[in-house]
Structure formats: C-alpha cells, structure tokens
Symmetry: C2
Subunit: 378 residues, 2 copies
C-alpha cells in the first residue's frame, strides 16, 4: 500500500493539466516578449491565462504577477517592509512568511505577533489589540497549512478599521485556500494575495502574487522588465497555462472535491477511532475539510511518521520544508497545545482523488501503529 | 512558411525532454522536502539531476543552485554588490545584468563599463585598464546574445591577475553558451555562472546559478530554507529533470549541432548574398556559429522585422525582452557601429533542427525584403 496523506505539502499535476501545457512548451514555444507572430501567439496564451486566473479569483488581469511559486510571491509582498515599520503577524504563518518577518526585524522593522489563536483561528478582538498604533502592514494566512483553519478576513479587517479608522495594508497568504475554498480578491479587500499552482493539482514552479491596483511594490529582482517591471525573466507560458487550467478545474469541481474530502475524512476518522485518546487541534467546523491536525497523546510523531512511512503512508508533522527540523512548529504554542503534546502531532491532509477504501484502511493502519507505539500499558 | 530564426530568444522544449519530465510531475510528484518515502524519491531525482548538470559543466553538485531562470540567477549573483564596491562590466551584457548594474549604482556602487569591444570581443588589455584599482567584482558574458562573440575568459582573468596580482571575483553569464559550446566551471576559474534551460531546448521556468565552493551570497529571498538556504521554495523536480535531460542531449549532440548550424549558416548567407551591402557585426571566427548579427545599410530594422514577420520569418533586433523598445542596444555602440547604422541591425539566430532548405529560402526571402525596403534607387 502506498497512500499520500500529505496533500498540503503538494499535489500531483493532473494529466489533463499536463496535456494542456504541452502545446505551449513543445509546439508554440516562442518567447512571449518577442514581437514577431510566434511571440505574439505565446503572449496571447500568457495573457489568456492571466485573464482566466484573474476572473476565477475576483481580480483584474493587471493585478496578477506570475512568480515561481508562493515563496517568491510572499517574499515579493513583504519586500516593501521598511526599517521602523510596524507589522502585525502571527506564528500561524508558513516559513516563507515567518522567515521574511525575521529578516524584516533584523532590518529594523517591528513585528508584533499574535500570542494566541485557539484552534488556529484568529480572534478579531485579539487582532485589533495586537498593535498600539495602526500597523504599516498586516499579514495573515487565509487557510492554515497546519490547522486548516480559515480566517474570517472580513471580521479581522473590520476590527482593524474600527480600532484605527482604516483597514490598512494587508498581505494574505492564500496558498492553501486557492482552489479549495472560494477566494475573491477584491471582496477580501487586501493589498496582496499569494498562491501556488502545485497546491491545487497544477504544476510546481509557478505561482502568483495578486497586487491590488494602486499598490506599489519594489521588484524582488530586476532584469528584462517583463510583467511591467514587477517580475523580470522570460515568462514560462506553458506554466501559466497549466496554472490556469488547474485553477479552472479546481473551481469548477470545488463542491465535488469538498464532498469527496468530507467522505474521505469520515472514513479516515472511523479508521483511527480505536486509538483514542487523540485530539483534533484545528477548527471543528468551517476549516479546510481535507486537513486533520491531530495530537496522539503519549506518541512521538517522528517515530510514528517513520512507522507510517514503512507502511507506505505518507504524512507529516507540518510544513514539508520544515520536515528535517526536530523543532515543533511555533503554531502549536499559539493554538494553546501544552508543550508536552507538541511532539505528538501529525498532520493528515487528504486529497479528493484518493480511494475511499484505501483512506479507511490507512486510518486503521494509523490506529494500529499508534497503539503499538504506545505499548501495552498505554 | 513559418520559420524561427530567433533561437537566442528561446528554443522549444524537445519532445524527449518533455516526456522525461512527465513522470516527475504527474506520477512521482511528492515534495522533495518531505521526509517520507515519496518525498525521498523526489529528492533523489532532484539530486540526480543536480549531479548530472554539475558533471556536464565541470562543477560539484553542491555548487548548483536551481533558480527560475537566468534572470533570477544573474540577480542572485549580483545581489552581493555593496555600496562603495567597484564593479567592472561592459554594455555587452543582457538586460538582466545591465539592470542590476544600474540598480547597484543607484545604491552607491561604482560600475566601470568597457568603452569598446570590436566585434563584441573584449580585449584583455582594455579589460585590465578598465579599473584604477582591483574591482570587487568583474562581470562578463561568456557568449554574447547579440553578437555571438565568445570571450576568452582565461585571457581576461590573466590580464586582471597580472595587473592586480589577483584574478578577483567574477560572475559569468553563460546563458547563450551552455549547451552550445563546452563550458567547464572550474576551469573557467570564476565565482558564479548563470544559465537557463530554455536556451538549449529545455523547459522555460528553470535555470541555475553555479556558485563556487567558499563563495557566499545573500539569498534573493528567504522562506522554507530549501537548497541550503540559498534559494527557498519547493523545488520543481520535473523541471530539474528536464534541464538535466536537455543539457545531456545538448552536450552529447554538441558537435552534430554545431555542424548543422554551420551548414545552415552557409545556406542562409548564400540566400541573403544578393542584398549586399551588409555587414556581419559579430566575430568572423570563434563565435557562436548559429548567430548572425547583420547591419543592412539603408534599411530600418523595425520595418524589416515587420515585413519578415508577414512572410513568417521570426527574428529580432536583439534581446526579446527589449523587443518593445525602439532604442538600439548599447552593445552596438560598444562594438563600434556608427550611430547611423544602429537602427539597421537584425539578429538571426539559427537552430540545429531547422530544415536546411527552409533556411536557404528564408535567406532569399530576407534578400528580397531588404531590396524592396531599400527601393529602386538603393
């Protein structure tokens, strides 16, 4: 048995997406910056993809900046933080946000981090109380990569507005949200929003930053001046085409995928039921329904992950890029998990195309392994 | 007729390369940072690709940093320039170098630019005389994207060494060289070297910076700490696999491709022979043999490019990213072309897989168009 319960780390590129990309890599492969006919055809495909993505996410096409992924997009969104700026953030964020916060602090910015977020959900009152004055930038993650918690952005923005008279500038990491729950950029009222295609069954190596009209950001790097100087480098048309195709499929199939994940989740929970006590750490309702962050008391997650891996079950303790780290994620403190349980946490992230029987069997296998690791006296 | 004589702008992804990438995108698609078996398999493919690329370019695997392309790689190599630094450069470089030079100057670095380079070739004596003191960084392009001139790096480095007692730090843009002429990173004795897969029939969206052991560069952006902190972001394994495959094919087929280009070039030159006077601006020997930078006296290149485009012939006046610009490239002044001829320049860049008959026919078509544009009294 080999089953991937780590869809928050990445998802496969669907064959339909792969096939849609091929013509723009192998056949109509011109440089979209070239002014000749072949270049203009490539440019049209690029701009069509930009328009498709914009329309699916409630943005204008000129607000879409293609990047190599969400890490680059997050860095781009945060590159404008200046020394002395006050930034409101939390430790719920992905390392690609948190590392930029640390960098900004080393350059003289002040970062105020939320002290708590029960079940990964930010309380608007806590958020409004976080900064003594209006922050220059507020950063949040729309759907948590660990807990699956979905933030109520309208409430958070409203809380800031009531406290400071202005909603202020916001960057939202929507990497785990786009393609899984409805995302409407303009309705969110944020300045920038990042995402990556490989989280919604698109290709790795491409993502985007949505940048609201009127928001000016310094480019992360300069060069040929592509994308109106905001992101230089020859645009990989086929990757943009693939991202647009994957997003279209994700949006069109969103309800079906959510239903599939709900059923998979129930089967999985039934499978692991025998190995109580365990505690679901994320939200009990309203979060991403394919994510289960669970603390198995008395079990070391690193031992469990190794045993699961031997059974062909792929999952993780958190973000893939932190996999090599033996330190628990700072988010676990934020959600109020006592320290003694922080090394007992496993994240299962399901995918809508998994086989329900296999997921149930995986749940049973998890239960057996957890029981074995706890030993006869547990 | 539709023929692409603009291979310096980009090349197609070969079907064999595309097919080699598919398994690592669609089937074995795990995140290479994941520690489970699926992640480790992806990691192995990534590291195998890194080793293959390193061995083909005379580098160690740990010297290969994957990027989204040469623009990012160039920016990464130049991100370490500090205020007050003295940099030796030329105006032969691609905009992805030149723009970084302008940026470095705006931040207080001094950039000394070579005043001349006949036929695009840097004279080692001129290079050694460029800086009054030892420069902190020297920047050159191994093979010119406009002229096709290949620099004698050993001579340039030797000239610096004799003048200042030390070869100093070098960044080499090898984007147009890799896969077309032999490139041996360690033998070149440079600090960093950039390239991009889509210039040698690999996929767009992936490139690399070779960073010599012991050379420390600040990352362009931070995040999950992938690639030992030098370049964060989930590695797109299939793109690395594609770049390795394309490079292997290019190196194995290098001589055959060079022979093919030599024959294509002869056929093309025979085709355009009737439309003399014209002048080849690049090197007469020793340069990239698929590149022809030609000044057609009395002809405006923008008009010629449009007429050629109508005939299905794709070519350009220089770098694709500058296509929209009506300003001639600064390299044309450097190579000594009189100002009145700088708007009469067309770059033809052939590809080894073009049909010889079609290339000859394209040459004849160019001759007819040039004659027509010159009018009856030329």
């Amino acid at each position: 048995m080999a089953i991937h319960l780590d869809h928050n780390a990445t998802t496969p590129c669907l064959p339909e997406v792969w096939d849609a990309m091929r013509p723009w890599a192998v056949e109509a492969w011109a440089n979209p910056a070239s002014t000749h006919g072949a270049g203009r055809a490539a440019r049209r495909a690029l701009e069509d993809s930009r328009e498709e993505i914009a329309s699916l996410l409630g943005a204008w096409p000129d607000e879409v900046v293609f990047t190599s992924g969400a890490t680059e997009a997050n860095a781009m969104a945060l590159a404008g933080i200046r020394p002395g700026d006050l930034v409101a953030a939390s430790d719920l964020e992905h390392p690609s946000i948190r590392e930029n916060m640390t960098l900004a602090e080393s350059r003289g910015a002040r970062v105020n981090r939320l002290p708590r977020a029960d079940r990964g959900i930010i309380n608007p009152r806590d958020w409004a109380a976080l900064c003594p004055e209006a922050p220059n930038l507020q950063v949040a993650t729309l759907a948590g990569h660990e807990t699956g918690a979905v933030q109520d952005m309208a409430a958070l923005i409203d809380a800031t507005r009531r406290r400071f008279g202005d909603a202020g500038a916001w960057h939202i990491d929507a990497t785990q949200a786009v393609g899984k729950i409805p995302v409407d950029f303009h309705r969110l009222e944020v300045s920038t929003l990042s995402f990556s295609a490989h989280k919604f069954f698109g290709p790795k190596g491409v993502g985007a930053l949505l940048v609201r009209r009127g928001v000016s950001l310094p480019p992360l790097f300069v060069g040929g001046g592509q994308q109106r100087g905001r992101r230089s480098g020859t645009e990989a048309v086929y990757l943009a085409v693939g991202m647009a195709k994957a997003l279209r499929m994700a949006v069109d199939g969103m309800v079906d995928r959510q239903i599939a994940c709900t059923q998979l989740r129930e089967g999985f929970l039934a499978g692991i039921a025998p190995c109580k006590p365990w505690e679901i750490l994320g939200p009990l309702a309203g979060g991403l329904n394919h994510v289960l962050l669970i603390a198995f008391s008395g079990v070391r997650s690193d031992m469990a992950l190794m045993a699961l891996d031997l059974e062909g079950i792929s999952c993780s303790a958190g973000a893939a890029c932190s996999s090599g780290s033996s330190l628990p994620s700072p988010a676990l403190a934020l959600i109020g998990l006592p320290e003694e349980h922080r090394k007992s946490v496993i994240r299962f992230s399901l995918g809508p195309f998994l086989n329900p029987d296999e997921v149930s069997m995986a749940g049973s296998a998890v239960a057996k392994i957890i029981a074995r690791l706890r030993g006869p006296h547990a």
